[in-house]
Symmetry: C2
Subunit: 313 residues, 2 copies
C-alpha cells in the first residue's frame, strides 16, 4: 500500500507543531572535497536528538481517543524508546517502554526523564516481545513499531518535506537504512515533491540486509549484523520494503573504517555531533563521490545521540 500525496500533506500538518523544523547546514570544505553542492538536514538538532520523534508523534496522533487513553508501548534500547516517550508526554499519552537489561543507563534515564514507564526484560528479542505482550494484556496499550508502521514511515518523511521545501532542486537525497522507516518516508516524499530526483540508501557492509533485499527482490533476514552504527542493525519490514523497492534507486554500502572517518570528519570540520548511523550517509557520499560530482545532494543527518565515554576515536 503506497501512501498518496494527500497522506503526505496531512502528515506534515499533524507533525509540524510538535517537532523542530531543523536547520540545513552546508560546509565549504565538504563541497570542495566532493565537488558537489551538499546540504545537511540536521535532525541531530531535533527534539530528543533524532528524526524518530517525527514518526512517533504521527503514530500517536493517528490513534483513536480510546486507544490514546490506554497508552502506547514499544520495545527499543535506542532512539525510538526516547522518541515514543517524549512524543507520548508531549501528546498527554502514557508510554510503556520495554528495554533490555543491557541498555545503557544513560538511555534508560533519558526515557524515564521523558515520563515513560520503563519495564526491563532480558536482552533477547523473544523476551522483549513476550514482555511487551504481557504489558499489553494488562494495559491494552497500542504497540507502535519503530519502523514497520505506515504512520511512522509517513512521520519520518516530514524531514524530507522540510528539506525539499528549503533547498531548491536537490538531485539526490541520501538517508541511512536500518529498519527502513526513514528511507521509505524519504523516498515516498521525494517521489511526490521531486519526481525527477533520486533517493539513495546507505548501509554498513556489516548490516547490509537492505542492499541484499533490494537485490533479491524480497526481504532478506539480518543475521548477526556487526557495525558501529547500532541504529542500523534492525531489519526491513514488510510495510516499508515495498515502498523502498519502488522508490529507492540504489543502496550504497560502506566499511566500518569509512563510517568512523566520516563521523570524525564531520565533527572536526562541521563542528556538529552526529551519531555513527548518520555518518553512514556521509561515508556513502565520500565513497561514491564520482557519481555525485556537480550535483546537488541532500543528506539526512539522522541524529546526534552518542555516548561520549565510548567514542570510536
Amino acid at each position: 500500500m503506497i501512501p498518496s500525496f494527500d497522506d503526505i500533506k496531512s502528515t506534515v500538518k499533524r507533525v509540524q507543531p510538535y517537532v523542530h523544523n531543523t536547520p540545513v547546514l552546508t560546509s565549504r570544505i565538504i563541497n570542495e572535497k566532493t565537488h558537489a553542492d551538499v546540504y545537511f538536514k540536521c535532525e541531530n538538532f531535533q527534539r530528543m536528538g533524532a528524526f524518530k520523534m517525527r514518526g512517533a508523534v504521527n503514530a500517536i496522533q493517528q490513534l483513536s481517543k480510546h486507544e490514546r487513553a490506554n497508552g502506547v508501548i514499544t520495545h527499543s534500547s535506542g532512539n525510538f524508546a526516547q522518541a515514543l516517550a517524549l512524543a507520548a508526554s508531549t501528546l498527554d499519552t502514557k508510554a510503556y517502554i520495554v528495554m533490555p537489561s543491557n541498555a545503557p543507563t544513560v538511555k534508560v534515564n533519558a526515557v524515564l526523564d521523558y515520563g515513560a514507564e520503563v519495564i526491563m526484560c532480558n536482552p533477547t528479542l523473544d523476551d522483549r516481545e513476550k514482555t511487551c505482550g504481557q504489558i499489553q494484556e494488562r494495559t491494552n496499550a497500542t504497540f507502535i513499531h519503530p519502523s514497520n508502521d505506515l504512520n511512522v514511515i509517513l512521520g519520518q518523511g516530514t524531514a524530507a518535506w522540510e528539506f525539499i521545501n528549503e533547498v531548491d532542486d536537490l538531485d539526490t537525497l541520501i538517508a541511512p537504512v536500518g529498519g527502513g522507516g526513514l528511507l521509505a518516508g524519504t523516498a515516498i516524499t521525494t517521489h511526490y515533491l521531486l519526481p525527477e530526483s533520486e533517493t539513495i540508501g546507505s548501509e554498513p557492509f556489516g548490516a547490509d540486509d537492505a542492499y541484499l533485499s533490494l537485490k533479491m527482490g524480497k526481504i532478506q533476514p539480518s543475521i548477526n549484523p556487526v557495525t558501529i552504527a547500532d541504529g542500523l542493525k534492525t531489519q526491513l519490514g514488510d510495510i516499508n520494503f515495498p515502498i523502498i523497492r519502488k522508490f529507492v534507486s540504489n543502496i550504497i554500502r560502506v566499511e566500518e573504517s569509512e563510517i568512523i572517518a566520516a563521523m570524525r570528519f564531520v565533527w572536526e570540520r562541521m563542528k556538529i555531533i552526529i551519531e555513527p548511523s548518520s555518518a553512514v550517509a556521509v561515508a556513502a557520499l565520500f565513497r561514491k563521490n564520482k557519481r555525485f560530482i556537480k550535483r546537488r545532494i541532500g543528506i539526512i543527518i539522522t541524529g546526534g545521540n552518542v555516548d561520549l565515554d565510548n567514542l570510536p576515536f
Copy 2:
C-alpha cells in the same frame, strides 16, 4: 583611544564579505534549566572554526598596499595562527606564522594547508619574539598581535554586531576573556547598539588576570595560568584593557570542573562541538544563574577547534 560608532560600521562593511554570518542557535533544555532566554552565536561554525578570522581579516585590510605586499607575521600555536593564515590567503597576502616546536601537528598542518609559511621556534615567549623579529627583518612583514590591536578588536566586534542585529533586545552578552580582543570588541559594539545592555566577561579561576585587572584598575600579569581553556591563558593588553574597563560590567570566574561539565552539556544536549574556552561562557551562565533569570542572554560561542584524541571526558 575608544573607537567611534563609525569605526564599528566601517569594520562591519570590510569584514562581512570574508566571513560567515554564523547561525544563532537556541536550546529548549538550556532555557528550561536557566529560566532565561539564551541565544548562542555560533562562531564554532566560522571559517577555520573560530571568531579569530574576523579580527585577522580586518587587520590585514587596514594595511597599506605596500605593507600588504610584504606580508604579515604573528606567533601563535592556537586559533590566531590559523586565522591569520586563512585571512592572508583569502586576501592574497603572504603570512609567516611562528609556532613553538611543541604545537600539535594537527595545528601546524592546518596552518600549512591555508598556505602560510610556518617557522618553528623553541617553546618560550622569548624565542617566539626573537624568531618573529628575525623574520620581520628579512621580510619587512607587519606583525599582527592576536588581541592587543585595535583593528583586531574591531574585527572581533563584528560577531556581536551580527548577533545584536539578529536577536532583539538582548539584556546581556557574555564572552570569554583571554587576551581581551573579543571581549573588548563585543563590549564596544554592544555599547553603541544596545546602550542599556551589559557585556560580561567570563574567565577560569586558574587564569583570572582580567578579573584581577578590572578589580585593581590596572593590568595584572597572568602568572602561570592553569586551565583547560588554553585559548584564555594569554593576558590583557594595554589597547583592549581601557575598553574593557570602560564597557564591561563584570567578569564571572568559573572552576575547571564547571568548564568541563558545561562543555559536555552543550555537546550532549545541543549536539554542537565547542572548545573549552567557549564552555567558560556557558559555565558562567550556569554558575551565576540567579542573576540571569527571565533575562535575554547572548553567549558568544568562540570556536570549536578541539583535539578529539585528548578530550577531558
